[in-house]
């Protein structure tokens, strides 16, 4: 087992955990966590692939950019959660089924 296959396996596992969280949880905060976990798996993949093709600097540049974007995504997602909580008074995703008004 080469180091790359191993890390790829880790990436896949982390991604699957995030994905499982995304499709099985109804709490909005948990869903945001799931999205974040999935994104982290992708970021990890970037690090290893860049290392694998021998261009670590490119990978690092990409990863830092991705982390920055991730922060923004998390902030926006959480603000949406707060907004939805104020609107519906609950954190379950079921409460968002009615989009009207």
């Amino acid at each position: 087992m080469t180091p790359y296959t191993l890390t790829l396996a880790v990436v896949l596992i982390v991604f699957s955990i995030g994905f499982y969280c995304l499709i099985s949880k109804t709490n909005l905060i948990r869903i945001v966590i799931g999205i974040e976990v999935m994104a982290k798996a992708v970021t990890l993949n970037f690090v290893y692939v860049a290392n694998h093709i021998g261009d670590t600097a490119l990978g690092q540049a990409m990863v830092i950019t991705i982390i920055l974007i991730e922060v923004i995504v998390a902030a926006v997602a959480l603000s949406l959660v707060v907004g939805s909580y104020r609107h519906t008074g609950s954190l379950t995703i079921e409460a968002l089924r009615r989009l009207r008004g």
């Binding site: 994905f19 995304l22 499709i23 099985s24 949880k25 109804t26 869903i31 995703i93 079921e94 968002l96 089924r97």
Partner: protein, 597 residues
């Protein structure tokens, strides 16, 4: 003096800058917002006017997507700069007029920041559309123009009718937009470039396959009839009258509907370079001619002053479209300019009347507006120009179109257009009579912010045709690919007076006037009676019903497919991700096939 590239850039960017800055100033004070928007409008107008002197000067292009040879650049030829000039100047006058006209909107709780920034975006998009020489950039601005018209038609969002009209405009023009997009893509696939001049040269060399030309030609026509509200996609424009009157003036004179005419004029050499596209010319001519006549008839039975003007715009655009089909790009653009001036004038006058009297129904106005002296006088000038009465700009340009029709041997369209001219005279007279002939009501003249644009536009309705010499010279000089002949003022007058077209139009106009004077009362009452034909015409010959039935059918399909939506977010998420994976696998397989083959 500014360098030409700077000037071109300034005239494209000033409205966009204003769109951002004026709402920010609105935080400080509403007055600052309003007047800064007006200032940005006039600044744009000044830049665009200066640009007219720079037509034909080269401007560097900047690469945007170098791999696909897509560049952003300004193409300064007469066709584009004139359109931009009209959009900039009339836009500025409309902004000035809005200062008073839109005051009431703020009291009713509508945001004026939204209004002014959208108007500036509208003007800027139109200028961008006209000045670019690249089809992709043109398409982007084309969509922006469409979006702005939607947002501004639905400006009074608390009224369901306005929202409905805005949505209708958006959906109907969207059909045309798809046609244009398809046309742009197939032309790009065939020629490998998106620069219009290069496409024209490829077409002249006969290197574009006939099927590509046919698809692109049909797509461009579809785009133009959607945008310029030609038949059968004309249904959105009369309903767009739910917009504030200033926006109607802007849409009809300066920005939205001219885009379709511009597109056809711009792409004319592409589709006429080879003789296989004879049907394209005929389609353009006949769509224009039939629309001109048909909508003029519809204008006869309307009771709403703005809807009369809307139908009249569609009809006049029909003239321009068929003029391009005759190969008379100069005549069509000249008529476009005349029309922009007098139609903006008519709309702004109508706005002043509505502002003071509070109704759009001509039978309710019933001549009370005649107390408004300046509005009355300028509206009279505008009506005469619309009818094509000698020495006003509408006469020269409309006659130029009819003359070209005879000259090029299009006798059928000529007859239709001449008949449409009679209808135009009839509905114009009816509109003028109903609004301004009668007991003066107890109304004051509109404030100076509203009358100033009226006087300026009225003045230019009388004199704009004098510019034909320079207009034609610049156009002929800067557009070698379009085969435009110079025309001096002298030859315009001589040609017009000696051509057989003028005698035909004058005879039909005389007949129309005689009929109108003799049977005026009967004519007016006939137009409101509920005879089967009148009520059918008032419903626009049931075009709306037809489209309504189509949408109902589509709704049925949607009701069926709605069952796929469970409403469970987790399940939907699973679907999204599975779909994404399938897509990735598909791409992977396709790439493997590409690599091995």
């Amino acid at each position: 003096m500014l360098a030409t590239p700077t000037l071109a850039l300034l005239s494209m960017l000033t409205p966009f800058l204003g769109m951002v800055i004026s709402p920010i100033l609105g935080v400080i004070s509403p007055r600052a917002r309003t007047w800064s928007a007006v200032a940005f409008g006039f600044l744009t107008a000044i830049f665009v006017s200066m640009l007219v002197g720079r037509i034909g000067k080269g401007v560097p292009t900047y690469e945007w997507i170098p791999m696909e040879k897509i560049s952003i650049g300004v193409h300064l030829d007469a066709l584009g700069v004139y359109i931009a000039f009209i959009a900039g100047t009339i836009g500025a006058l409309v902004l000035l007029y809005s200062v008073k006209y839109m005051e009431h909107a703020a009291e009713e709780g509508y945001s004026l920041s939204r209004y002014y920034s959208l108007v500036l975006l509208f003007i800027g998009s139109m200028i961008g559309l006209a000045l670019t020489g690249n089809l992709l950039v043109l398409y982007i601005f084309w969509e922006l123009v469409g979006f702005c018209s939607y947002a501004l038609i639905a400006y009074y969002y608390k009224e369901p009718k306005a929202v409905w009209a805005g949505t209708k405009a958006f959906i109907v023009t969207r059909i045309g937009d798809i046609g244009l997009l398809i046309g742009v893509i197939v032309l790009w696939r065939a020629t490998g470039t998106l620069t219009i001049t290069e496409i024209i040269e490829t077409a002249k060399a006969g290197e574009i396959p006939a099927t590509t030309l046919a698809i692109a030609g049909a797509g461009f026509i579809l785009g133009a009839i959607g945008k310029s509200a030609q038949m059968p996609l004309h249904v959105w424009l009369p309903d767009a009258m739910e917009a504030p009157t200033t926006i109607s003036a802007l849409i009809h004179a300066a920005t939205m509907v001219n885009a379709g005419i511009y597109l056809i004029a711009r792409s004319y050499p592409i589709f006429t370079a080879t003789p296989v596209m004879g049907w394209w010319v005929l389609a353009v001519v006949w769509i224009g001619a039939i629309t001109a006549l048909f909508t003029a008839i519809l204008a006869l039975v309307e009771v709403d002053i703005k809807r009369v003007l809307a139908y009249s715009t569609i009809s006049q655009l029909g003239y321009m479209l068929s003029a391009i089909g005759f190969g008379a790009i100069l005549a069509s653009q000249f008529h476009l300019m005349s029309h922009a001036i007098f139609k903006a004038l008519l709309f702004l006058c109508a706005g002043a009347v509505i502002h003071r009297l509070g109704t759009r129904n001509m039978y309710e106005i019933a001549g009370r507006a005649s107390a408004m002296r300046i509005t009355h006088a300028t509206f009279f000038i505008g009506t005469l120009a619309l009818m094509g009465i000698p020495i006003l700009n509408g006469f020269w340009s409309k006659d130029m179109i009819l003359e070209e029709a005879l000259h090029k041997g299009f006798y059928g369209p000529f007859a239709v257009l001449a008949l449409a001219a009679v209808m135009t005279a009839l509905y114009s007279c009816r509109m003028y009579w109903l609004v301004f002939r009668g007991e003066p009501g107890d109304v004051r003249e509109a404030p100076w912010q509203m009358t100033t644009p009226l006087v300026i536009l009225g003045f230019f309705s009388v004199v704009s045709w004098l510019s034909i010499g320079g207009y034609a010279r610049i156009m002929a000089g800067s557009m070698p690919l379009y085969h435009i002949h110079e025309k001096s003022l002298r030859s315009l007058v001589v040609d017009t007076v000696t051509s057989p077209a003028i005698s035909v139009t004058i005879i039909v106009l005389l007949i129309a006037f005689y009929a109108l004077l003799a049977y005026r009362e009967r004519f007016f009452s006939l137009m409101v009676e509920e005879t089967p034909h009148v009520s059918l015409a008032r419903r626009g010959y049931r075009f709306d019903d037809l489209y309504g039935r189509l949408t109902e059918g589509f709704k049925g399909v949607c009701t069926l497919s709605r069952r796929l939506q469970t409403g469970d977010a987790n399940l939907n998420m699973l679907g999204v991700l599975i779909g994404f994976w399938l897509w990735l696998i598909l791409l992977f397989i396709l790439n493997l096939g590409g690599a091995s083959g």
